[in-house]
Symmetry: C2
Subunit: 578 residues, 2 copies
Amino acid sequence: MWSYQAPLREMRFVIEDVLRAPDAWRATPAFADLDADTAAEVLQQAARFATEVLLPINAAGDREGCRLEGRDVKTPAGYAAAYAAFVEGGWPALACDPALGGQGLPQLLNAALYEMLVATNHGWTMYPGLLHGAYETVKAHGSAFLRDTYLPKIASGEWLAAMALTEPQAGSDLGLVRTKAEPRADGTLAVSGGKIFISGADHDMSANIVHLVLCRLPDAPPGTKGLSLALVPKFLPDGTRNAIHVDGLEHKMGIHGSATCVLHYEAATGWLVGEPNRGLAAMFLMMNAARLHVALQGLGHLEMAAQNARRQAHERLQLRAAVRPAGAAPAAADPIAWHPAMRRTLGNLQAMAEGLRVVAYRAALRLDEAEHDEDPARREAASAEAALLTPVLKAFATEQGFRGASDALQVWGGYGYVREAGIEQTVRDARIAMVYEGTNEIQAIDLLQRKVLGSMAPAFDRLLDALAADADGSDAGRALAAQVQAAREVVAAVRARSADPEAALAVADDFLAGCAHLLLAWAWGAIERAATQARERDAAWMDERIRLVRHGREWLLPQATVHWARVRAGAALGAVAA
Amino acid sequence: MWSYQAPLREMRFVIEDVLRAPDAWRATPAFADLDADTAAEVLQQAARFATEVLLPINAAGDREGCRLEGRDVKTPAGYAAAYAAFVEGGWPALACDPALGGQGLPQLLNAALYEMLVATNHGWTMYPGLLHGAYETVKAHGSAFLRDTYLPKIASGEWLAAMALTEPQAGSDLGLVRTKAEPRADGTLAVSGGKIFISGADHDMSANIVHLVLCRLPDAPPGTKGLSLALVPKFLPDGTRNAIHVDGLEHKMGIHGSATCVLHYEAATGWLVGEPNRGLAAMFLMMNAARLHVALQGLGHLEMAAQNARRQAHERLQLRAAVRPAGAAPAAADPIAWHPAMRRTLGNLQAMAEGLRVVAYRAALRLDEAEHDEDPARREAASAEAALLTPVLKAFATEQGFRGASDALQVWGGYGYVREAGIEQTVRDARIAMVYEGTNEIQAIDLLQRKVLGSMAPAFDRLLDALAADADGSDAGRALAAQVQAAREVVAAVRARSADPEAALAVADDFLAGCAHLLLAWAWGAIERAATQARERDAAWMDERIRLVRHGREWLLPQATVHWARVRAGAALGAVAA
């Protein structure tokens, strides 16, 4: 039976013991009213929503999928009702400004909420998943009219949002976008053009849908410097339906409950958001948060795969174990959880999930600091660290979500390949996160070429210093110090090859994976330290954390060696052939 | 557009230049009439069948799937007609004994055929995929009545076969099988019991279906030593329908065109195959060949993913490349094949496919020697080497088939997640091969615990010696020698821990992966040598082979270090918990 036990205790341990977020909240006026117990209560309610509302419609939504009826998209049974309950519970507004009807809670709690939503229903979560990005964009760049008309409805979740970027010829390369926006005499824009892969461009879950459309004004320069952003609602303020036409739905490998639309705008009415030709800058504002959310999709799937595999491995009896627990009764076959190959898989999955959770939540904490810290220098430093952690997390956590789900599938054997077990849906759903919101390869280039070797070199050094500061004389500390050292060395090695314009590009993926392992080494050390300190609270539970992170250090961390070695070597890739 | 260019030239290069199979054929009376050109002609016809008959019904079969109508299973449109053409072409009998209506061709050519069938249509290939195993089993263990009645029909493919092993409680642990076989006065058996995950237990593709059923005679001892094998046909010799009842079809992640049946026998009439309680031994006869076929599924998917990704990467234009070919015309965006991250992915896929093809075909060559060599000592040595190569190939090639398909999906970006591109079906179809015919974890235990540390230790040493003999002073030779050395060291390290009953079990997966890299190091070296020698035939094509295997050595082989290091370290896994 596919099920979900929200890892509330693990989350609380990370938030309170590992990251000590309540200390940060106390020092931040925006969160001064928040304490650990309140936060825990919020997460408990979130867990309840995810488990009781979203999980029951997850498998059915995968089977049913979405359909286009006339010009309207219908979502699977139960989706709209679940969303109504989500709005009713105030969840869309969790991290929005109280002045705009939000709850003013940290991104950190929003991250934990999001992890649970995706774990229980990735397809459904795609719909509210874009709300916060739209909220931030309109809040920062919208005119007074747009803010008054759209922001409260977006903050409350009453109206959902869609991000319309991709076109057939313009995926990773948004500079090739062609959709046109012609100014009209009344100050609106007439938006025309085709878009593809637009999640939630139409559906039956909210009364209106707010599209943010990447487009070009007349005479805009070519490339990304000529992109503008338009807000194009499904229903105009006077109640008429706008000229947004869904031409079809994609048939995807997974997230069948999410409507992925092919559509075109036919002189649809819109309004400019932000400055002309500055559309990409307006969208980049929400990029870190959006990419962190995608990383949390990887984490959610990994957690779901790990905990269900653990249960399955304890229930399924096959073959006698080489070593049986003292006093175990004689049996024809033992739980497969007793077999070393399965213990190792389960350890890998859980150590990875618990380590990545720490890193992902650290990034969320930095986003909160970047927005709410009173000290501008600390805001800037936090923002820079978040910008460095985000591509690592987006690429690495999504890969682990997919690979971890596939590794977990082995625990079920043949049953895992069959729909009823649940895990094959996780494998299929998890796969998309490696592709969208910037492919994982784009993340790697962003990290190494644009940031570490570019303008954020000092911030990367500061991050390494901060991590290295946690490297004590323990095994965990030595492992961490070795990773930091390796990172410094390979950056120098790549710099030394800078005459080759492809030097960084060829090894960017390995550099990112190396950094992910470095961050895991830090996270596992931090967990071990926190668990040791909190051991008196519950020795058995804390010892299990310590066992897991040691498992991670011994069985998973060695993989870093290969990544660093490949970056260091920078072998030839073969010439570009026409 | 999803398409297939059968890698006939690569296959021929491996068969003729790398493995020098035609020399072996000349020295083997059974193949004395076979020469390189005849073999190439056979493969060309096979490529035509795969490309023209199987590929066109692959995607449609995935969408349509199988259905149960009353008591009969219906396969997707075109499946039955394709199978009729397959029988008409004599393909089922390719490697069967000419005395039984077969064509008497080597397993090596059958392997190449099978690679092409799976690449173009895995779901369909499941049906004839069990024929050869059934043929070998009935040929070796069937009574004169069974051989006379069933063997010619199986050899010709006129009747298809199914292997009925798994039961709900008995997957990896076949000792738990409960299906009963009661002897009747007329010498037949009354077979009763339920089976699951039975591929092709019923369908509409052949006039009869021959089930080989693992079952227990009355008073059989418990466990695997009490298993017998029964032949239970869908239609009895007198034309009446046997009591085989399909209760349902599984809804699987992939290979939708393959009917995976839940069924029960209700005092169905059958005949004992082989000795009572020796059913597992009778089935093991075909195990190496069957597992090699599963490895070829991985290779087929990997080849398909690699060549389609290559085409896509040359067609898709996104972003300007850092380095452009000399003389390339100015353009807004370049083929993504020019971007280093994509060149690397394409190189990985192709180097892996070309290396694995050499190893897999080497195993097939050993199966031919094991059956047809005139020297009994050489037969035995070949059989032992095949027994060692098989689990490595089954586990590693299937993992590469799945991972490679997923890596390839990145080349399409968002398009790859959508059905139309074709690659997501490959990801889904490829996943099953890691599970069935013994999970990959079972293969690893078979290799290390049962064979290398067990009765086949001398054979493993001989294999290492044989591979090491190819290690010359070149870069490839040094890389190979280092791998052989590592393998010897880790075997000694695991032996030194033999007081721990879990010592081998905990590191078996890494040992297998290490051995796979060792075999790849050998294969890449062999390709480089052969390509260098044959360079005058076509310098550009041979240089591309050399470039690819160097890519493999520089970008893929370093992964071996981690696998060997983990085996050497043998870190603790944590105690078994009740």
